[in-house]
Amino acid sequence: MAESLLKVIDVYKSFVGVQALKNVTFTIQPGEIHCLAGENGSGKSTLIKIISGVYTPDAGHMELNGTLYKKITPIEAINNGVQVIYQDFSVFPNLTVMENLAVNSELSEHRKFVNWKRMRLIAQEAVKKIDFEVDLDEIVGSLSVAQKQMVAISRSLLFNTKLIIMDEPTTALTKKEVHNLFEIILKLKERGISILFVSHKLNEMYEISENFTILRSGQVVATGSTSQLDRKKFSFFMTGREFTERHFKAESISAEPIFEARNVGIENSFSDVSFTLRQGEIIGVTGLLDSGRTELALSLFGIQQIDSGHFFVHGKPAVIDSPKAAMAHNIGFVPEDRLSEGLFLPQSIADNVVISEIDRLTRRAGLVDKEKRSNEIVKWVKELAIATPNPDNACHTLSGGNQQRVVLAKWLACNLEILVLNGPTVGVDIGSKHDIHGILQSLAKAGLGLIIISDDLPEVLENCSRVLVMKAGKIAADLDTGKTNESAILSYMM
């Protein structure tokens, strides 16, 4: 067997008392696709930064191309062929594709002056490496996320690249774009380039990587061949917890629907969508990114207005033309991008919890009743197990899963009957995801009607009693989750 490209041996790293990495050892062979997985805060980013020379390990060493390094500088890492593609791709949105492609290699050659002809040649060479077709004079800011990623990948290949570290490269990509990315990764592998693929999605690991290493709390908990991994083991390694899948069974469903959509539509987005929701039910809506599912979700909360059909709440026609109108009908909404749409991140957790029910917490003069407010806050922090030492801390101090719980608390506090969730667990790690699913199921049991819009099929199957599959703006199927499976749903989606 050929010599390893990279060996990380017994690496330790701590930051002001927090042990970020403990005794981490793993190896990558030339041309290997290796997946590095772990929950948020497990030490993945720290490990990447040690390999790329940004951090110096406290103890342990690395071997790159057979040379031993106690510590490595970023320049040495690059000279050894290590390239990192960060989640934000490190591009300059204001500059042209050409300049973005050429600038790194020009800097590494210590050029002082710019030769635009040479820049163009370098850029052409770069895009040719992965047959990436793009207008070199286009401004990078106007490219799609996938194209920006291609810019970053082709730029990294200009060096004598042996290892590319990709930090969660699929986060913002559509299914098709992920497929293209994987094809490129396989092409790079053929050329003998190793890939360290950082992800926390099991299905991606299966599809692309041969070997895996899973980190938990800074330690390697498992490493080996991906083929020997299954969903259960994966969840256990990631979280250290055993999960039993809890398939949702709707109990105590009300006889009359609490909500009904009859032939609703928005021009150019979706049309002729009808469904009913009963108390105690969770229904799933799934479909491809452009199937109209997002627009449907937004229209249920009045963010987008329907231009045909009608909504009914408790059998009576209801006009939902604004979030305020939706809230008046006791409809709540948890947006897809909870970070930018659902929370005031710099504000305290407490304020975020009570923001939607603030009208009910006032005394006669319109001032906030402090006692009522703090009672509400204590209640919800406890009920939803939000992990915080102090509810007055700013919301951005919480982990993704806990932030999601704050969003839930905010809506539950206003006595909802119907809750619409758009992608409730996007970007949330497994442990929190499991907890959120638990919360959703208990909400349904408590008598709410829930609508979950999600493209995470295992999530839909586990938590919903029925699933509506959308395709090209129409409902292609209305399935009982007890009698269907992933491939059946997929066949309706495509």
Binding site: N94, L95, R111, K112, D137, S291
Partner: protein
């Protein structure tokens, strides 16, 4: 080929220099039609002469805004360095040429620029806060420390520099004459040097890169801290040169004469299509924007509008000009979104 041409035209139509240029031409024609005095040689020379100091300030402000920062301290900085230079020369009763005034002012300007650069670059403090603070520091040193007062006489070298002209334009009808100051050469040289610096050196591309994404610039290998400090030093020197020219052209030194110019200058730069968020803009647009402001300020009188209304018109121009470019950005984004939805539908 046709496709290529189309995408090229598309890109040009997205730039705002052409629109701005049309506005400029329109304004000139309007003033000409109303007054018949605009397109006379002496008026054009007057405008060129009035452009020198705001133009130099705008070049400096432009560099800072491109890097993602903002500088409101340059009038105070220029005042302090030119005051220092003038009082030193007066106290030694210096009889030589203007070059020494420039050398002293530029040295002081570099030092003061480094002060800004140190806090903004090295300590990573917000540029607006730092330069608001340094405005007061510079003014305080000048008024308190140096006990500044109006200087009715300036050293002979500066006086001579201020009155010497490249050529004199004479209006054959009215008989009015206007001089083109030698200082215009200084402005032109600085403009060309900064253009070359921004376009053909890695340092200049570094300024654009930092304005686009500081994190990316750092990862790509730019020395962000050094680039910023050197840039603020350069901006301090350019502003100080403008200060020497201003005093020389006025033939006397009012310590507070330049204070308060910063907003009009920054408005001109932004009007010229420079993104206030950094990274985007061209020196050409910046100059057209500044020229627009200069023309409005100087030519309202030709339209028969009382000078007291001048600031109203400047303000309106700023709101309309920057508003239009902001709208452009918004509509560009929404068009893209629409296209995305539309193409998605076709795919499905």
């Amino acid at each position: 080929m046709n496709e290529k041409l189309k995408s090229k035209l598309n890109r040009i139509s997205r730039k705002n220099e052409p629109y701005l240029f049309l506005v400029l031409v329109g304004l000139c024609l309007l003033i000409e039609v109303r007054s018949g005095q605009f397109l006379t040689v002496n008026n054009l020379v007057d405008i060129a002469s009035a452009l020198i100091v705001p133009g130099l300030f705008a070049i400096g402000a432009f560099m800072v805004i491109i890097s993602g920062g903002i500088d409101v301290s340059f009038p105070a900085l220029a005042s302090l360095s030119v005051y220092t230079a003038t009082t030193i020369l007066l106290s030694i009763d210096y009889q030589g040429g203007v070059w020494l005034a420039f050398v002293i002012a530029l040295a002081v300007g570099a030092l003061l620029g480094a002060f800004n650069g140190l806090f903004i670059g090295y300590f990573r403090l917000p540029a607006l806060i730092v330069t608001l603070g340094s405005t007061n520091v510079f003014r305080g040193i000048m008024q308190g420390g140096l006990n500044s007062k109006q200087l009715a006489t300036i050293p002979p070298g500066m006086r001579e520099f201020g009155t010497s002209s490249l050529f004199t334009a004479r209006n054959p009808i009215s008989g009015l004459t206007s001089r083109m100051p030698v200082a215009f050469i200084v402005f032109a040289v600085v403009l060309i040097l900064v253009f070359l610096l921004l376009r053909y050196t890695m340092f200049g591309r570094g300024i654009y890169s930092i304005g686009g994404s500081e994190v990316s610039a750092h990862r790509a290998g730019f020395n962000v801290v050094r680039t910023k400090i050197i840039m603020y030093v350069m901006v301090g020197m350019i502003a100080s040169a403008a200060g020497v020219i201003r005093v020389s052209m006025m033939q006397q030194l009012h310590p507070t004469n330049m204070l308060g110019m910063e907003l009009r200058i920054i408005a001109g730069v932004v009007l010229g299509g420079t993104a206030i968020t950094g990274g985007k803009g061209s020196l050409l647009g910046c100059m057209i924007g500044t020229l627009l402001i200069v023309i409005v300020v100087n030519s309202m009188i030709l339209l028969g509008i009382p000078t007291s209304w001048r600031s109203v018109f400047t303000g309106a121009l700023i709101i309309i000009g920057t508003g239009v470019s902001a709208r452009q950005v918004v509509s560009l984004n929404s068009r893209k979104k629409f296209k995305f939805i539309f193409s998605g539908r076709r795919r499905a």
